[in-house]
Symmetry: C2
Subunit: 347 residues, 2 copies
Amino acid sequence: MKQASVFSNDPWGRLHSLLEQKRYSKIYVVCDENTEKYCLPFFHSIVSFSYDSFCIPSGEQNKNLTQLELLAAQLIQKSVDRNSLLIALGGGVVCDLVNFCASVLLRGIDSVLIPTSLMAMCDAAIGGKTAVNLLNYKNQIGTFYSAQGILFDPIFLESLDERNLKNGFVEMVKHSLIESPPYIQDFLSLGWPVEKDLLKSLIKKSIRSKTEIIEQDPTELGLRKILNYGHTIGHAIESVCISRKEDILHGEAVAIGMVAESYISSKMFGWKNHIIEQISEYLKFFFPMNINIEGKETEIIDALSFDKKNEMGKIQFVLLEKPGSPVRDQKVSVELILGALNYVKNC
Amino acid sequence: MKQASVFSNDPWGRLHSLLEQKRYSKIYVVCDENTEKYCLPFFHSIVSFSYDSFCIPSGEQNKNLTQLELLAAQLIQKSVDRNSLLIALGGGVVCDLVNFCASVLLRGIDSVLIPTSLMAMCDAAIGGKTAVNLLNYKNQIGTFYSAQGILFDPIFLESLDERNLKNGFVEMVKHSLIESPPYIQDFLSLGWPVEKDLLKSLIKKSIRSKTEIIEQDPTELGLRKILNYGHTIGHAIESVCISRKEDILHGEAVAIGMVAESYISSKMFGWKNHIIEQISEYLKFFFPMNINIEGKETEIIDALSFDKKNEMGKIQFVLLEKPGSPVRDQKVSVELILGALNYVKNC
């Protein structure tokens, strides 16, 4: 599967070149209520083509088949055809849902993703995974599908509050932990918040890291699994909170997940104590404010056994022999997982 | 896209070999109420592996995202994982829906299709197109996805009544019209019904024809479009009847569609009169009993403009310069389409 080009230098010029080359019959832009208000006006001012726009309701709880069906129905009623282009203008939910829609509508039409959140820039929009949730479990239904382009304009970061910036930053911390040589020390010394120009260069580095990994394994048969570091427990926590209608962001759950999985790694591979302590201390910056995992342990273990990365009832993890040295397909006992959750609670 | 193998010699032996090689963690079989009653007992008696079975409601009106969601949710609750196998045991609706489900569940798990209707054996199961309907329009949401195998056992034909045999036979007539050299004359002299052993060999010929075309153009960029002969008007009639809750089968609609599109071809390419008359006379065997297109003309034209094979508002057809010589991407005026519908009415 060819990976989508990232339009980061002269992004809007490259978008217009793509349209000139492809001569789409129609262009549709999909936002959510937030990006309709904060990003669509800028989009409208900078593009020179005409388009129809649609708005989907924001939030992870709306990344489902019902919204997919509603969106597809609206597109059909607006005469979408196989030579149409679908543009996603939004965060992870919009990018995942719209690109899934593009991949299945009329058995596949072209898409361009314009991630407007830091999370979507560093994670959701990169790598050709599309998805919707099902039954409170994350990303159960989806496809591998390459967009025609991913447009990266840091101007959209201006529309983000501190919580959403932190949410995306977590994925960048993850890259610093799994990549060899690890650059987690750089992050530890940065603290929070991060100066704007530095943030932009870190984002580009993060996109490059992720793209390099994915190009070697687009459909997650092996290597790509390392990108799931922190996500096994992170997804389980996110699923449990969504089903309880508690307000948690993906990156917040992954921050907790990374502390838990670093704890597990430290126990299984004998890390020195100060390493796990430094990492936990730093990642606490990114924990959710009002979420407590106390009392959710059983639900988290249940959700783990539903994770689609598992096979035949085994809970499999990506762990770190040490920072920068990920190992895949590691079986972990329920006791050690409970120990890790306990460690997180006392962080 | 690699095309699925057709298991036609020693089909059940080949299925068991596949399972031995792949060592699936779980196997799920999906039927509808008809195949659960008439085909699952035979299936159960002949296979030596254990499986969970599910039943979806029969009928084209149930080939939708709601049923997809229900099926996916049941599979998740039964602990489906990425190393599971999904087997479709049924006609076109079951094969299309189950293979779509396999293509998007956990971003794709393996599938085997066991078509039990003549229609599914000759058409729906072959060629890697999966789909569900949306808003009364056929196959608006779907994927291109190859099953691991398509198991062809003519024993399932025993479970079919005359109407369902005719329904599938129409696709075989279509192959005889679009393939070069055309062998429509063979069909004209056969009449109806067709002797059983002859039917089996015609089915195999038909599967080979379709597979050869698809191997050259799996994602319908060009050549494969000729398989849509009769389907442009056929799908429109089917959509209109479904939305009116009138009982029509796919092949019945395509039989009408082929007469209409042969009429259009005869006018645009100057066929001799006796050719269109012979073809119409023969295809009338396969028309639906209780469906009249009188009074539906406007709805049919509306539905045509929604066909996903069209671009930018043009209604595009596959036509025949003469039998055996298909031509693609032919624009046809609304007047001539109405003339063709009128010809059908007076057939």
